[in-house]
Amino acid sequence: MKFAVISFPGSNCDYDMYYAIKDALQEEVEMISCDETSLDGFDAALIPGGFSYGDYLRSGAIAKFANIIPALIEFANANKPVLGVCNGFQILTEIGLLPGALQHNKSMSFISQIEPLTVVNNETLFTNLYKKGQHINIPIAHGEGNYYCDDAQLAELKSNNQIVFTYDNNPNGSCADIAGITNQAGNVLGMMPHPERAVETILGSEEGLTLFQSILKSFKGELNRVN
């Protein structure tokens, strides 16, 4: 399986994501610049965390205009897996692949800590190896992770099972404790916690690796089904 990590100027978790795939998942991965215009040949696209273009405006607001974005939208519409973590999640909401927006944390300060989460939906291509209701510990590190959507949207997220991860002790004020959601089709996941920082025991947790293994499993399952 071949992964693309899309690096924007100011992305700073791009290599963390790259090594998570290369060393921990041990699959093929390539770092590509957001100046590229194609995702041809890739089976999954990963948008890493960081501060794209410095995030001096609303997070992700400038990244929205990068060359790669039309290709990314096309990739997502072709039902291929797209994962956005932290700044990647913010970018996915900016470009409309995911609903809602990420506001400043309720405390108005940056929060970096290991965060207990619950896997609410284990029937996605990103979470099929977790158990439903499983508690996992994944680090968070963000200043703008306070997920917001209006009531109608929230009702829709709930009824479509789009809420994938929730916080056990909501750290940032997110509505409905949301830590990660998918699009309606379930092939685009945005989440504030950093699974790529929890892929080796020496880093304190391997519980993020399961997410990448899930992507691989569903890719292989899909291949088998097609063949």
Binding site: P9, F51, Y56, F110, P139, A141, I202
Partner: protein, 738 residues
């Protein structure tokens, strides 16, 4: 902006403006009579004032800095370059340095601390290393004033802003409070980098005709002549200095790091030298690079990228705009550099060339505005010899303090809530400590640990100082500062390999302040030699006085240790009920400068009668051996607050209790005798551990599932709920900030 016509050389002399810029009468005379043989013009006088400031020249501290021990088998680069470099084997090297940003952080705490972080990161990648970790040592006045709360809040926000955005994890450091830092907070930042040994670069400009290339952000009017400003004392009129503070842009610096590391990685053959533009901006970086090779430079200031109109040569050369670097590139290969920087949308411009005549020549709008020997800016700076005098407060004899502890549980709870001891989690959680996915031990344990990717090795690092001890005994206090850092490293499973330092002191022209610096440096140096941890870099921040009141002498030690095998990484947290708990080292009545002395009396005084460097080293080696023999479950160094605090801190994470006894008084639970650790081991290792430690370890008791600290002391029985102790430790800082 209208610029006033510059004063003529004669007007500068007659109006003595050089005095305002920090040059003395004697220095001005040396420059005009001896070095130039004529009166310096406006630009030249400005360059001299910056380059001859303490911040750039170390003219008042060189005599002391020479006393540092800087040798050792691992040293690839000692003091004198952007940062020091140590060999860690497998063709890898660790690069580190600490730097102070005290004065700017007082005037504008957010940008002051942010640019402190930015500056120290540039020092690291200018050596060719990838920055992998940041630490900060902070000192503030007591949190009883709104101003100090504001300073803490904004300094932390600034560090968080810059470090998080650029993507270098902030993994440790320390914060302490004392009234002596009222009006003079300390903000010291340390950066650690990793590199392949054979890619080491230096800041040099040589080879006639080679190009001087300016890269990074454009030059503006921020921080003009900031180095002179940092080398003077504050007075109540400090607001006039606001323009001397720079503004940081971590996004720009992220691009700059990536671009520079690409040049070092892929174009090393054409890269003659690289240096960061730090204090005194373009003049210090370029002049220092040239002086190292005895070269001269011709620079055309019209080519310097500028973001403001009508900048004068004085402003262009002394601006401290951030995120800028200077390269010396082999003639004819400039385009390769331009191509790299274009990719990152950054400026890269040839602004001049190396010449062999030794002259530092600047042209601006067709006119030569400076033509002086390069050496006069760097090598000809006078060195001042000072003679120290023992401070008066050290001549007074007063009986050492021994506290009266009537309710040991209540006292322990109070000591845990002292802001210097209390949990700093509310601060650390604002720093991204895990970006780069190498962090093994995050802030909060003795030393932070990051693994070296693709090896089985890790680096432990810490920043430490106890200024109260140094105030009471600069020589012993200096030794203790290094010893405590080393204990932190050893407790985390590492071996100390080197230190960097920030020497924060008052006015060196005051004999008593000079004595403090001189004695503490000698103490530091002696301890470094004992632990085989040479001084490889550092900086000096003098004149930390406001209205003639000096800070405590505060040399901050940044130490790096090597963990040869990741299985040896050890944390301070107790792990499992049933494990046995020991204290390593002897406890005496050591309350001079202690947390409990300050808490109970509001002052500090007394002498250090029991510290011995050899015992310290011996105990560290024993603990190190025990860890390497896989006998140790947890290890915690004893420092502020003593044994009581260390036991409590170790119990907090898992909320385990401890049941046992100690042949110590309740007061001695708060003694700050040095050279001690709290260790827990599995019961099956009891005989092996005790055989190794001999008399150096004393069994306290065992860990219990029941979360109660239950220890029989010689004169009292300590019974306290771990949750109660934890609450007073955990919430204290947040409450004080309200």
């Amino acid at each position: 902006m209208l610029t006033k016509p510059e004063l003529s050389p004669q007007e500068i002399k007659d109006q003595k403006v050089y005095l305002e810029w920090g040059l003395t009468e004697e220095e001005y005379t040396t420059i005009s009579k001896k070095l130039l043989g004529r009166l310096p013009n406006y630009t030249e006088t400005g360059l001299f004032s910056g380059m001859w400031s303490e911040h750039c020249s170390y003219k008042n501290s060189k005599q002391v800095l020479k006393k540092f021990w800087t040798e050792g088998s691992r040293v690839l680069q000692g003091p004198g370059e952007g940062a020091g470099v140590l060999d860690i084997g497998d063709n890898q090297a660790v690069v580190f340095k600490a730097e102070s940003h005290n004065h700017p952080s007082f005037v504008e705490p957010f940008q002051g601390s942010a640019t402190g972080v930015g500056g120290i990161i540039r020092d690291i990648f200018s050596m060719g290393a990838k920055p992998v970790a940041l630490l900060d040592s902070l000192r503030f006045g007591e949190l009883s004033t709104p101003k100090n709360k504001y300073l803490l809040d904004q300094v932390v926000a600034g560090i968080s802003h810059y470090g998080n955005s650029i993507g270098v994890p902030t993994i440790g450091g320390e914060i302490a409070f004392d009234a002596s830092y009222d009006g003079n907070p300390l903000v010291n930042a340390m950066c650690v980098g990793l590199m392949d040994k054979d890619k080491l670069k230096s800041g040099v400009a040589k080879g006639e005709g080679n190009s001087i290339i300016y890269v990074g952000a454009k030059t503006g009017r921020d921080g003009i002549n900031g180095a002179s400003f940092a080398s003077s004392e504050f007075s109540d009129g400090e607001d006039l200095n606001r323009s001397a503070v720079q503004v940081g842009d971590p996004f720009m610096e992220k691009l700059l790091v990536d671009a520079c590391l690409e040049v070092i990685d892929k174009h090393s053959d054409i890269l003659v030298g690289i240096q960061d533009m730090g204090a005194c901006g373009l003049v210090s970086s370029s002049a220092e690079m040239a002086s190292k090779a005895g070269s001269g430079l011709n620079l055309n200031l019209d080519l310097v990228p500028q973001r403001e109109d009508h900048m004068t040569p004085y402003e262009i050369m002394l601006s401290e705009s951030q995120e800028r670097m200077v390269f010396c590139i082999k003639k004819g290969h400039e385009q390769e550099i331009f191509d790299v920087f274009k990719k990152y949308n950054l400026d890269a411009v040839t602004i001049g060339e190396v010449v062999n005549d030794g002259h530092y020549t600047l042209t601006h709008q067709g006119e030569v505005v400076c033509d002086i020997p390069t050496a006069s800016l760097v090598d000809d700076v006078p060195e001042y010899q000072h003679v120290g005098q023992k401070p008066k407060h050290l001549l007074e004899t007063k009986e050492n303090f021994v506290p009266e502890v009537t309710d040991v549980a209540e006292t322990l709870s109070k000591v845990l809530a002292q802001p210097t001891v209390a949990s700093k989690e509310s601060v650390f959680r604002q720093y991204d400590s895990r970006v780069q996915a190498n962090t093994v031990v995050a802030p909060g344990s003795d030393a932070a640990v990051i693994r070296v990717r693709n090896t089985n090795k890790s680096l432990a690092m810490t920043m430490d100082s106890n200024a109260r001890y140094i105030y009471l005994d600069p020589y012993i206090g200096g030794q203790i500062a290094v010893s405590e850092s080393a204990r932190n490293i050893v407790a985390s499973g590492g071996t100390p390999i080197g230190i960097t330092d920030c020497l924060n002191f008052g006015n060196p022209e005051n004999d008593e302040r000079f004595y403090e610096m001189d004695q503490s440096v000698q103490g530091i140096s002696k301890a470094c030699q004992t632990f085989d941890a040479p001084v490889i870099s550092g900086n000096v921040s003098l004149y930390n006085e406001t209205d003639k009141k000096a800070i405590y002498p505060t040399p901050v030690i940044g130490m790096v240790g090597l963990i040869e095998d990741n299985r040896h990484i050890t944390t301070q947290d107790f792990k499992t009920a049933g494990d046995l708990v020991y204290v390593v080292g002897q406890t005496f009545d050591d309350f001079s400068g202690s947390e409990i002395q300050k808490m109970m009396t509001g002052e500090i005084y007394g002498s250090f009668d029991h510290f011995d460097l050899e015992t310290e080293h011996h105990n560290q080696q024993l603990v190190s051996k025990a860890i390497k023999q896989n006998l140790v479950q947890s290890a915690h160094d004893l420092s502020e607050g003593g044994l009581g605090v260390a036991l409590a801190e170790s119990a907090f994470a898992q909320e385990l209790g401890i049941k046992g006894k100690l042949d110590l008084t309740a007061a001695q639970l708060f003694s700050e005798s040095q050279s001690r650790f709290v260790i827990s081991i599995k019961p099956e290792h009891k005989s092996e551990f005790e055989a190794l430690m001999q008399d150096s370890a004393t069994l306290i008791g065992e860990l219990t599932q029941e979360p109660t600290v239950d220890i029989k002391l010689a004169d009292q029985h300590l019974i306290a709920q771990v949750s109660d102790l934890k609450n007073s430790w955990k919430d204290s800082l947040t409450c004080l900030m309200k």
